[in-house]
Each structure stands twice: as structure tokens, then as C-alpha cells.
């Protein structure tokens, strides 16, 4: 295993200074994600315009360098994209983390792909994969669910 590959400069930078760590005004989609084992939490806010394009995306949360960097890079990359394209990017990223060796989608530029590939170091750290994917799964559920469903806190009492 290789700590240097996990904690690359760009990860440490995004981890310490996450981009889009705030709450979007007038968001119209959002979802919360938890990692019950370690307590990591993330809340993703989306504002889609009438053409279903991501006008703004942001997140709030607390977590390790990997999860913060992942959310930070994710929000940077999907901004301005179509909802459909966002879904393709998410699924491509998740595949890369799970099995594939690279990012394949044409929706991202080369330097964007390089940025994403910085997260591939977690593959050697199976317990940390969830840290890298939490915000991405949360983005998916934000897109898939309607506003109402998400605000229903599923608290058992």
C-alpha cells in the first residue's frame, strides 16, 4: 500500500480547503448521506435550472481528508453539467473506484479526469472507499428523489 498515492497534494489541498462547502441558496434538490460506521456525514444541495442543468451545487459536512476532497472535487466537476451528464459522471467515477482503471466518460476534460484519478489511491485502502464515494452516492439520491421525500427525516420516534 502506498500512503503517498492516497494523500496526494491535490487531495490534501481539497481536504483542507474544500470548494463549495456551503449551502446553496434556493436549492431545489438535496440529500443527506451517512457512514454509520465512522460517523461521516454529508449534505449535498443542488440547484437545477429549468433545463435541468446544475446551476449551483454545494455541500455541508464533516469527514476525513478523503471524503472532504472527494466532495469538493465532485462539486467542482459537475457544476454547469446537465442532470443526465451528471449521472453518467457519477456512475463512471464509482466504476473507476470499484473496478476500472480509468475514467472513461467523454463528458470530462483531460485535466478534470486527472483530478478525479487522484482519488483512485483509495482502491488500495478498502475501508476508505466509502469515504471517497459517500458524497457521490448522496448526489445520486439528491437527483433521484423529490424535495419532499428528502426533507422527511427518517427518524424513528
Amino acid at each position: 500500500m502506498n500512503l503517498k498515492e492516497l494523500y496526494q497534494e491535490i487531495i490534501l489541498d481539497h481536504g483542507k480547503n474544500p470548494r463549495n462547502l456551503r449551502k446553496t441558496d434556493n436549492f431545489n434538490k438535496d440529500a443527506k448521506g451517512h457512514n454509520p460506521l465512522c460517523g461521516d456525514k454529508v449534505h449535498v444541495y443542488l440547484k437545477l435550472d429549468e433545463n435541468k442543468k446544475v446551476e449551483d451545487i454545494s455541500f455541508e459536512g464533516e469527514g476525513c481528508a478523503i471524503s472532504m476532497a472527494s466532495a469538493s472535487i465532485m462539486t467542482d466537476l459537475v457544476k454547469g453539467k446537465d442532470e443526465k451528464d451528471v449521472k453518467e459522471i457519477v456512475s463512471d467515477f464509482l466504476q473507476m473506484i470499484k473496478e476500472k482503471d480509468e475514467i472513461q466518460t467523454n463528458l470530462l476534460k483531460e485535466d478534470e479526469k486527472t483530478k478525479l484519478m487522484c482519488l483512485s489511491g483509495v482502491k488500495q485502502f478498502p475501508m476508505r472507499v466509502k469515504c471517497a464515494t459517500l458524497s457521490w452516492h448522496t448526489l445520486t439520491s439528491a437527483i433521484d428523489r423529490s424535495q419532499n421525500e428528502i426533507n422527511t427525516e427518517n427518524m424513528d420516534l
Binding site: P36, N154, M155, D156
Partner: protein
């Protein structure tokens, strides 16, 4: 692995028990353990030990993978649709308690009926009995016929509009009857009634296919399946695990915990509260591999032959009365001996190294019905051979001699 030579995989048979070769005929109670299973426990504790799921260090990650790997092995072995339909429990008893408790909480109310059979083990009756007290439900017992069998007709007769769940054994641990569970499940489902199968005696001996069987719940006892003690399995259809409330509460089964309330984790964590039986689960993976290597079809054939041989031998002995003569019979031979009580038989046999069980085998309802307070039971496993049954018969003759001169 050749089943005719399988005894050598079980280290216990290398040792003398009170100067005798061990003739182990108590597998329905608990089976012996293959060397591989014991070695896995040993290696895990001495080289790889860590708790699962909770820490991110190397040993914890490795242990978690091993643990989850057994879940997949079990899923494949019983052909469940999803690995998250496999819940580890402390035993089959806990598995049944889990269902009775949570199903009862959510779906049962006063006047509802639960349908069991007269063959049930106490573990598949007492948990339902609790619901009589807490919920006011009623319990019906489908009757056995003169062969110690429960037929589909006997089940059908006892289904009413109020029947909310049917809980039945796969294979009776006394009469050996293999119930027509596929037909019973189909019938029940045609009336929208879920079915729990107590698979304690089915799982070690019969081919299992959850998707074909389509049962709602299936309870397994790992120690009867060449696995470690302190471990059981509940198979449950995903929709049930999602709908049922959690059973025990504790670490590992939660999503978020606040002073005001709690949300629960995903399947199967929701039903695996607290530190689980890590070493046992990991070692049970070897039990499954062991069964796979022999092949369940070979086991079925081997045990069928032995059972028929045993019946033949015992039938020739005029003092022996076999209990039950079911259409499909598993490898259980229960009997009485004229003028000799079951406990006396067990004690006398034990002197020859022949280990059987005597008593009601946790089936008092059945014994009441049969009008017997106790029976003797010889039950078989993969490691048994014809000579074991010959020795049983020899020792039974000795009992007769002592008692009847």
C-alpha cells in the same frame, strides 16, 4: 473428497473415548467438526484476530472481508437471491425468536392464528407461545398421521382466515419426516400467508434452494452443519428484513443516534447488533466449503443408504420399535426397546462407545401425542458408516440381555 472415507477428516475419531472407538450417533443434536474448520478458528485467533467492521486497521479490514465472505458462501450454498438476506444469529433458536418477536410486534394482534405442527421442536414453539401472552394470538398444531408425518391435508385443514404465519420444521428431529414444504409454501402463498421453515435438521442433510423453495424465512443451526457452536443463520426475504423492526439494539446496527431518536442501518446490519461471533462466522465458511467439496447430492445418497440399512437392521431386532414411518425420511432413527427405558439404553450403549440421545428431544408435544415419555434416537452424519449401525444393534442386544435376561 470421497464420502466413504470422510471419517478421517474429523479428528475426534482419532481418539478413544473411554477406551472405545467412538460410534457417534448424535448428529441431530450436534455434529462433529472437520479438521479444516477447527484449524480455521485456530489460525484466525493466532494470526489474524480483530473485531470486524469497526476499525480501519489492516487486521480489522481483513477480518471484515473474511466475515462477509462467509455471508456470500452461505448465500450461494442456499441459493438466496441477495447476500443481505443472510443474517448471522447465535443459533437457530435466536433466528426463530427474531422472527416471532419482530413479526409479532408488527403484524399480529388478538385473535390472529399461528400454525405450527405437532412435530415442532420447542425452539419453534416457545417463541410463538410468547405471542399468546403479549398479543393474544392463538396457536394451532397441524396433526401428525399414524406414520409420524405431517401431510399437506393436515396443514390445509388448519389454515383459517385468521392464519397469519405458518412455522414448520423441514425435517423432524424425532420421526425423521421430511415435510412437503414446497407444497405447503405454495399453498400458504396462495392464501397470502408467509412461511417460516425450521431448517435445523434440513440444512445439514438436504439440498437447499431458497429461490426455488420461495419460503419467507429459513432458520439454520451451524453447529449441526459441521460448524462451530454459538452460530446460527436466519435467511429471510429482503422485503421482510426491510419491513420488520430491528430485534436486538446495540452497536453496529444503527444509522444515526440522537438523544431523541434513532435510525437503523441497512441490511443485514440492522439485525446484527453488537459484536458478532466473528471467529465462528469465518470458520463456518470452511464448513460450507467442506460440504461443497463432498457435494450435497452425495451426502443425501450416503445418508439415505445408511438410514435404510439402519432401519433394516433394527427391524430384524424384534424388541425394537421404530418411531414413525414417514414417506420421506431423513437420517434419524428414533425407537423404543421393549422393557428398557430410553435412558437406560443410552447409558448401556455409552459403555460401548455408542453415543445416542434419549429423552423427548425437545419435542414434548410430539411425545405426548405418541404416548411416550422418552425415546432413544440414533441420528446420522456424513461420517457414519454401516458398521456404526451394526455396533448400535449389538449394544441394543446387550441392553435386552441385561434387562430381560
Amino acid at each position: 473428497m470421497n464420502i466413504d472415507n470422510i471419517k478421517k477428516e474429523f479428528p475426534i475419531f482419532n481418539n478413544k473415548v473411554q477406551n472405545n472407538d467412538l460410534v457417534y450417533l448424535d448428529s441431530a443434536n450436534s455434529s462433529q467438526k472437520p479438521q479444516l474448520v477447527v484449524d480455521r478458528i485456530y489460525d484466525f485467533y493466532t494470526k489474524e484476530f480483530s473485531n470486524v467492521g469497526r476499525s480501519v486497521h489492516y487486521l480489522a479490514v481483513a477480518a471484515t472481508n473474511l466475515y462477509e465472505n462467509t455471508r456470500v458462501l452461505v448465500q450461494q450454498y442456499i441459493n438466496a437471491k441477495d447476500k443481505n438476506e443472510i443474517v448471522f444469529t447465535k443459533g437457530a433458536t435466536e433466528a426463530i425468536n427474531l422472527v416471532a418477536n419482530t413479526f409479532g410486534q408488527k403484524f399480529l394482534s388478538k385473535g390472529d392464528e399461528i400454525l405450527l405442527t405437532e412435530l415442532e421442536h420447542h425452539s419453534n414453539y416457545v417463541p410463538w407461545h410468547y405471542l399468546r401472552q403479549s398479543k393474544g394470538v392463538n396457536i394451532r398444531f397441524a396433526e401428525i398421521n399414524e406414520n409420524g408425518d405431517v401431510t399437506i391435508e393436515s396443514i390445509e385443514k388448519n389454515i383459517t382466515k385468521k392464519t397469519k404465519i405458518i412455522a414448520i420444521t423441514h425435517l423432524s428431529n424425532v420421526t425423521g419426516a421430511i415435510l412437503p414444504i414446497k407444497e405447503i409454501i405454495d399453498l400458504a402463498h396462495s392464501k397470502n400467508i408467509p412461511v417460516l421453515i425450521d431448517g435445523c435438521q434440513g440444512a445439514p442433510h438436504l439440498k437447499l434452494d431458497m429461490q426455488e423453495l420461495d419460503c419467507d424465512f429459513y432458520a439454520i443451526s451451524c453447529h449441526k452443519m459441521y460448524g462451530p457452536t454459538g452460530l446460527g443463520i436466519l435467511y429471510a426475504k429482503k422485503k421482510w428484513l426491510e419491513e420488520l423492526p430491528p430485534y436486538q439494539g446495540g452497536g453496529g446496527m444503527i444509522r444515526e443516534v440522537k438523544k431523541e431518536g434513532i435510525t437503523y442501518g441497512d441490511l443485514p446490519n440492522k439485525f446484527e447488533a453488537g459484536t458478532m461471533a466473528t471467529a465462528q462466522v469465518i470458520a463456518f465458511g470452511e464448513s460450507i466449503k467442506f460440504l461443497n467439496k463432498i457435494g450435497i447430492k452425495n451426502i443425501e445418497k450416503h445418508e439415505k443408504n445408511l438410514t435404510m440399512y439402519g432401519e433394516e437392521v433394527l427391524r430384524k431386532n424384534n424388541s425394537v420399535k421404530l418411531i414413525g414411518n414417514p414417506k420421506n425420511k431423513g437420517s434419524v432413527l428414533s425407537f423404543t426397546l421393549d422393557g428398557v427405558h430410553a435412558h437406560d439404553i443410552a447409558t448401556i450403549l455409552d459403555e460401548d462407545g455408542v453415543a445416542i440421545r434419549a429423552g423427548h428431544h425437545c419435542c414434548q408435544i410430539l411425545h405426548d401425542k405418541l404416548g411416550l415419555s422418552a425415546t432413544a434416537r440414533a441420528s446420522l452424519g456424513v461420517y457414519n458408516v454401516k458398521e456404526d449401525l451394526d455396533k448400535l444393534n449389538e449394544s441394543l442386544k446387550k441392553c435386552i440381555k441385561i434387562f430381560n435376561g
